[in-house]
Symmetry: C2
Subunit: 366 residues, 2 copies
């Protein structure tokens, strides 16, 4: 009983290109999922995502449970009807957000305060399943314990233990749900900080609960790149080849290329959109700050090697002017450009036989 079928179509070392098929349809991997935390990618709507060719969008259970509430999302057609987005949606469980709020955690669940009004909230593995069933994403995440990247080993070990406990309970709740298993799939999450042995243990214990896909959480949160890749390597060993693998929160092209080479299939990150909102442009010759004075009179487009960019119609000089005068049109157009750039990067990653070649070809921009 799984609502997701993962088909590997090509491999190269550990890297693979494939598809994930759910009751909603099929999307290609490796894929990048833009983040619409509250049900919209900032400055964009679902018709923009269609034009960009986005296949999967991420939304956030923690935010949606607080505003407008999972019941309201359900009443307005679930997240697909609510946002009028007919592609795939993945909802994060809220574990990552909660741990930025200094929660009180026990074996049963986590208590924390609403970021909107300070009211007391509680999330358990069962409640995370219930809320995500109401929200109605195609892919859901189990509730996990996501400690600080610089936590001491005992803290990481306790997080791994509790994450495994919650994985079991979350999986049971999902399978016992009256309709979720027929229309949703569920991913487990591997924790363990930058500790390779804890990562291996967490992967094994998550695997025992038997999910439709497996995510690596709690990385790319400030640790250095070699430490991140060592921890990722340790996770990957036990994870089965016939299930999609998802690296949570990784969005820089260099990191994506490294992770694809290690067998990761799915990525999400606020980075390309956040950079765009603040005027940092992704391009084949490297990222740059459009606010710099040297762009003020430039009639070049944002990335001359990307003529099909959704912002390719306008000059750097015009877009910099809008950015400098705080016109929201700038944030929108650079967000569109950056997301299109990352999606094209993923196309190139999928098209290349060896992701090493992609890294080589794109070295200036990584």
């Amino acid at each position: 009983m799984t609502a997701a079928v993962f088909t590997v179509e090509a491999t190269d070392g550990a890297a693979r290109a494939g598809t994930v098929t759910t009751p909603r349809g099929t999307f290609s991997t490796p894929c990048f999922m833009p983040v619409g935390t509250r049900g919209a990618v900032p400055h964009l709507d679902s018709s923009d995502l269609e034009v960009l060719g986005v296949e999967v969008v991420l939304a956030n259970t923690y935010h949606l449970m607080l505003r407008p509430g999972a019941e309201t999302v359900s009443r307005l057609g679930g997240i697909h009807g609510f946002a009028q987005w007919h592609g795939h949606i993945l909802t994060d469980s809220g574990g990552y957000q909660i741990y930025s709020l200094d929660p009180e955690v026990d074996d049963d669940g986590a208590s924390f305060k609403s970021v909107y009004d300070g009211s007391a909230c509680r999330l358990t593995p069962e409640e995370a399943v219930h809320l995500q069933a109401l929200i109605g994403a195609d892919m859901t995440m189990v509730l996990d314990v996501c400690p600080s990247a610089v936590a001491e080993r005992p803290v990481l070990a306790e997080a791994v233990r509790r994450t495994a406990l919650w994985a079991r309970r979350g999986r049971d709740a999902f399978l016992a749900h009256p309709d979720a298993p027929q229309r949703q799939c569920q991913f487990g999450i591997v924790q363990g900080g930058a500790d390779a042995s804890l990562r291996l243990e967490s992967a094994q214990r998550t695997l025992e609960a038997g999910f439709d896909g497996y995510a690596v959480g709690g990385l790319s949160v400030g640790e250095d790149r070699p430490a991140m890749l060592d921890a990722l390597d340790a996770c990957m060993v036990p994870l089965p080849a016939d299930r999609p693998r998802y690296f949570m929160g990784l969005g820089d092209p260099a990191g994506i290329a490294e992770a694809v080479a290690r067998g990761v299939d799915m990525f999400d990150c606020v980075l390309p959109a956040r950079l765009g909102r603040h005027g940092t442009v992704l391009s084949d010759t490297g990222r740059y700050n459009l606010a710099a004075a040297r762009h003020a009179s430039s009639d070049e487009p944002l990335d001359p090697s990307f003529p099909d960019s959704p912002a390719g119609r306008w000059s750097r000089g015009y877009l910099r002017h809008l950015l400098a005068t705080h016109e929201p049109t700038a944030a929108r157009l650079i967000t569109l450009h950056n997301l299109a750039w990352v999606l094209r990067f993923m196309d190139r990653v999928r098209a290349r036989e060896r992701s090493e070649q992609v890294r080589e070809a794109l070295r200036p921009s990584l």
Copy 2:
């Protein structure tokens, strides 16, 4: 020698439907011009305006001369190349903006401070022509003196005198410009506050300078509606039927309908977009505040009688959620809706034989 031909195609009392033809092409009147002060309507780009069917956009000389500078706009292709907008553009001269900055005015010109960095600036009738020639709009405005709506009669009379002086100098500078008369047209501006006799005098003196079109400035700035209409009536008497008439800064549907009935052809206002950014929705049953709690679970579109609204795909519940969580997507979608609503309102005004019928039909929303 005029770069604009106004053709009246139908009249009904003082109201008329027609076209304005410039070297750029032809647009229909009565028309509503969205305001892109700094070269973009907030949250929108030129492709959005194309989809909306906008024919004329307004930009602002005062803002563009300060950021990015008229020379930079010129270097980047003029305002049409800069914004990549190939429809008509009208630039306001900056008179209205300057008078909100408590300027020092003498017969020669106005000295004021930059809203961006406080630096000293000066604008004269000749400089306003020069700057607008660099910016390159199809329709330009003469520099005027725009006093407070509640100014005493001597202040208004002095503004009328100086506006007439500047009209003559602005017109001379325009006609002496090496290429402006071939590619731009120029509108004079009638002042006089809410004083009917000063309005008549100002219209006559503006007319003596001989412009391609005539604007009514300094109204719809806080005076009551009967006073506004009396002042408008006084202006209209001497203005020739064969030139377009432009009511500056009027954007509410009721006011537009009244002014069309008196023979006005062109309108601009930030109102529909500004209302949209702040969550006020225009609809056939009246404007409403989408932030109200009653819309939180509504699956209705913003205006059920406007199924082709660019925001018609989403429910009030979804858009209210984005508004309440400060997602900029809400500002964009409601801006698009409101502008589309006003443009459709202008279509209806043009299509009706009598604007009284429009007022009657749209009474609930006026």
